[in-house]
Amino acid sequence: MPKIKLNGKEVEVAPGKTVLQACVDNGAFVPHYCWHPGLSPAGNCRMCLVKVSNSRKLEASCMYPCSDNLEVTTEGPEVAKGRQDVLEFMLINHPLDCPICDKAGECDLQDYTYAYRGGVSRFRDKKVIKHTKDLGPNVRIWGSRCIACTRCVRFCEEVAGTGELCLVNRGDHSVVDVFPTIPIDNPVSLNVVDLCPVGALIDRNFLYQARVWFARETESVCASCARGCNVKITALDNRIKRMVPRVNADVNTWWMCDEGRLNTRYLADDRRLTASKGSARDLDAAARKGNFGIVLSTYQTIEEMWLVKRLAEAWKAPVGFLTLTRGERKKFGGLVIEPDKTPNRRFAEKLFGELKPVPAGCKGLFVLNGIPELEGPPELMAAANGAEFLAVSDLRKGPLVEKAQVVLPACAWAEKDGTFMNVDGRVQRIRKAIEPPAAVRAEVAWLQEALGTEPLSAEGVFLQAAKEVPALAGLDYGKLGNQGAASNGH
């Protein structure tokens, strides 16, 4: 374990680590563009210059190996001057169109420029203009903004494995591009937008949608598959504008898939169910007449499932399940896309044992379906047709809802608080990012109403469940934090 002196403080570094990693691990700020913990180092942006005792000039810390007794200085006038100069070069051909750049507000180039440089440019000549075009269905490039850090190129090669991107031309004409006839269209393509330290690569779905400083960000978890990638939801005017991944080494590392990111449109669907019919008490009254069945989707949160379980016990009703499986398991670096397209199947199995099919032949049926893309599968329709009484909670209007005597509109995952257990048995929190439509109440509220218990928040329900469900023993929202926690017995 080499020991280095970082800004006069002695720190021990794991062997093989670079100076930049040592700085990052020990909290010394070193600005950088091309270096990313999830990608191989390139050492080309020259922003991470630091002073090391082995060299007279400044060295790029991202490629500099730590050796014993190395003295590293990340501050001071010499280092600041180096960063200033590199920034000056970077801004030579970078257009100053921050006002119309969607990256503004979360742009590293902007931040470092504010940190290290005044607003004056000494460059009086013509800038090099590079292409602006769509690189694929989701990604657009503003070539002039590109600082050729090659993060995106390395991502496509090393993580996505598809290598659609390349750096073309050389010198100050270097710019990221795709092969003329092959657009970037892989399942994780939008990560290049997050990786881009400037506004060169832009998510076409987010294009001109919001200035980020007006938007509100909520830390949550993606519900589009059983992986449960940690995400940040950006919302403005009660609309989800985009989702970006949060780093969680145990779940998704730095990445998330495009499908998950873009699976938000149903929230603002025209067919969204907004009005209720009847009440939870009506449901309870009908259920207590006996011969009642419950259909539960594995999209529901842990809290909701637990309440449904209590209802099933109270009503002595069998519980059948709605699930959704599609495609194959795909792995991209530290990211796995699961075929199970519902976020909480694992917990359903822990709570109910093996998942049973939709109960047939019940006189009354209560369907709790939160799966956005699942609309009345045949076995469910058959069971519903045979039932005299039908209560439905769903996101969207459909044949089932038309038939139902009691309709309780569902909240989408971004509109409520709760928890999911991912495929590895990790319990993670989802948080309310936007308000549900006016008349829509959270499921936990009306499920408790049906139970006739004192209404608790999702957190309160979770605490109750944690007392009784062994898989959740010892957990609470505080312990879950924003990275989640592994469940017991996993």
């Binding site: 070069f89 009086r124 050729a148 659609e164 050389r170 100050d172 092969f179």
Partner: protein
């Protein structure tokens, strides 16, 4: 449209691929195949080779756009490339280009391009027609050429090699002018391959050879001047294959010695390769030759093939158990591939981006294995050292810079050309005595002593020596400059690859700098920010000054920006661009000020005004 190779070509491609440990390394040769088969490298062609080599088409596209020498689908049948770099520009290539532009306008069979240095500086201005060189081009020759092309009966004139008379006894260049010197027979007849054969057959410990070279004090002839033996000793000792790479990417403007060695005496190089490979225990050698040297590559390949036939290369070298495989790898036209790590990247089938050192190539180089990269001249010197002994070698040159060295003298001198002289001769002797001084009876103004990237000397320094300040006494004295590594470094410049560019009193130094910086802006690989943006910036600054749009305070800005580029990048191309800029500003500041004051160039010269630097708007 889909492109498919014929069966024969596919076999050839497989043979090429087999020469590299990774298939994708054959990308550049595969593109040469595309050029040969389909006349150009286009999108369907790239998809084809990408599929065959197992890389993504985007990778192939990125690599193609990095290099300038491949024929694009937009290029016409005849490609006219006019060298516009300083040595040619000093001889009026700009007006030649303008003339050509006029006479080829609207001619569908001709594509006219301005290119950077073609390593033919002694016969400037020079242009390349497809693969052929045309020396000392004049407007009349151009008229004739274009007329011939129009008539469809163009025959390549062939290059005339000449070496000016030299009072010193040449070693490497001794036989280059003899007829058939490039053939195996000629080389064997003059006792070639004997030294290599003796060493290989003797079964000597290779370390002894290394020691001999180390003791000889041979220093790299490519530019940095690093002791060759020392470099060999740095080789990492592991069980990975070792590679020998011969740097034949002679692209430093003002240097044209390797081209002569390759074209006229390839076997001398191959013998050196056998010795070097034996010494460093390498079984594989790649000769990375400039893309522009199409004919050179052909000659070299022929020589290699002959050596294989004779059994000097291949499985059983000289009948022993030694193995040496030599592959001629042709580049694609990029100055940066002359930098050793850039060369290795290019050789791996990637963009020629230099890599960060450490690790040095001797530890982790080509295909992540220990690699030695040596210049052509360095390798070609080896047989002579081992044949004649260390004592013989050290008798020539100085204590720290022993041996003979080829200096390429070009620009405004009477007799431009390659001069092989012992290191350490006075610069005055080289310029005035050997090269005959400034032509036309004009006065000397400036000399760039070691290729375009070396800081410039003013005439006064050349004539009267540089000012040396004694560290202890602060006393100033004039020390004459001699052509060796130490003296030139002491004078604030560098010997580099030995390309001496001479400028007479009528040369506008601002224009010369602009030309220089344009070259670097065009050749920067675009990896590191300070170089990518800085080379373009200082080129534009110098261009604006030359055109009269500069301001007084921008002279200091030019110097400062150049200073900011130094030492901040992976390779030294940024420094190579910055050093001339800083030295020009330092030594000829008055000319810059005159430009700013007059708001135009005060010199009357043959260079037509150019609207934009060549590095901008092309590609």
């Amino acid at each position: 449209m889909n492109r498919e190779f014929g069966a024969e070509t596919l076999v050839e491609l497989e043979r090429i691929c087999a020469r590299y440990p990774r298939r994708e390394a054959a990308l550049l040769p595969a593109m040469r195949l595309l050029e040969r088969e389909f006349g150009c490298v286009d999108e369907p062609g790239m998809i084809l080779v990408a599929k065959l080599l197992g890389v993504s088409p985007a990778h192939a596209y990125g690599v193609l756009t990095f290099y300038t020498h491949f024929r694009r689908s937009s290029d016409a049948k005849v490609l006219l490339q006019v060298c516009s770099t300083l040595p040619c520009a000093l001889k009026g290539s700009e007006s030649l280009y303008d003339h050509l532009k006029k006479i080829t306008a609207g001619e569908p069979a001709i594509t006219l391009k301005k290119v950077e240095c073609l390593a033919n500086c002694d016969r400037a201005p020079c242009l390349q027609v497809n693969e052929e060189y045309i020396d000392n081009a004049t407007p009349e020759m151009c008229d004739q050429l274009v007329a011939q092309i129009r008539a469809g009966r163009w025959t390549p004139p062939g290059q005339i090699y000449s070496v000016p008379p030299n009072t010193h006894q040449p070693v490497l260049l001794r036989h280059v002018l003899e007829a058939g010197s490039e053939t195996m027979e000629h080389y064997l007849a003059r006792g070639g391959y004997k030294t290599a054969e003796e060493i290989v057959k003797s079964g000597r410990n290779p370390d002894e050879v290394v020691e001999t070279v180390f003791k000889s004090g041979l220093r790299g002839r490519g530019g940095a001047g690093f002791p060759t033996g020392q470099k060999w000793k740095f080789l990492a000792k592991n069980d990975k294959p070792r590679y020998l790479v011969v740097n034949a990417d002679e692209s430093e403007p003002g240097t044209f010695k390797d081209k002569l060695l390759i074209d006229r005496d390839p076997h001398q190089l191959i013998e050196g390769i056998i010795i070097a490979a034996y010494a460093i225990r390498s079984k594989t050698c790649y000769i990375y030759i400039r893309g522009e040297f199409g004919i050179g590559a052909w000659i070299l390949q022929k020589a290699v093939d002959e050596a294989y036939e004779k059994g000097f290369l291949g499985r059983k070298v000289f009948g022993t158990a030694s193995e040496i495989d030599v592959t001629v790898h042709r580049g694609g036209g990029a100055y940066i591939c002359g930098e050793e790590t850039g060369l290795l990247s290019s050789l791996e089938g990637k963009r020629g981006n230099p890599k960060i050192k450490p690790p040095f190539p001797a530890v982790e180089g080509l295909f992540r294995s220990p690699t030695i990269v040596n210049n052509v001249e360095t390798i070609a010197t080896l047989p002579h050292i081992l044949k004649n002994g260390v004592e013989w070698f050290r008798k020539m040159g100085t204590e720290k810079s022993p041996g003979p060295k080829i200096f390429s003298v070009c620009g405004h001198v009477h007799r431009p050309g390659n001069y092989e002289v012992p290191l350490g001769i006075p610069i005055k002797e080289l310029i005035y005595d050997l090269a005959g001084g400034v032509r036309g009876g004009k006065k000397l103004k400036a000399v760039i002593p070691g290729g375009l990237s070396a800081p410039v000397f003013a005439a006064d320094e050349v004539d009267n020596g540089y000012v040396k300040v004694d560290a202890a006494t602060k006393a100033e004295s004039r020390v004459p400059i001699t052509m060796d590594f130490e003296s030139i470094a002491g004078a604030g410049s560098m010997l580099g690859s030995g390309g001496v560019i001479v400028m007479d009193e009528e040369t506008c130094m601002v224009d010369a700098l602009w030309n220089t910086l344009r070259f670097y802006a065009h050749e920067s690989c675009g990896q590191c920010t300070p170089c990518r943006e800085g080379t373009g910036w200082i080129a534009k600054l110098a261009g604006r000054m030359e055109r009269g749009g500069g301001r007084d305070d921008e002279i200091a800005l030019l110097d400062e920006v150049a200073a900011n580029m130094c030492g901040r990048t992976i390779c030294v191309l940024a420094d190579a661009a910055a050093m001339p800029a800083r030295s020009f500003v330092k030594k000829f500041r008055a000319e810059f000020e005159a430009h700013a004051r007059a708001k135009k160039c005060p010199y009357k010269h043959g260079h037509a005004p150019k609207p934009e630097p060549a590095g901008v708007g092309s590609h």
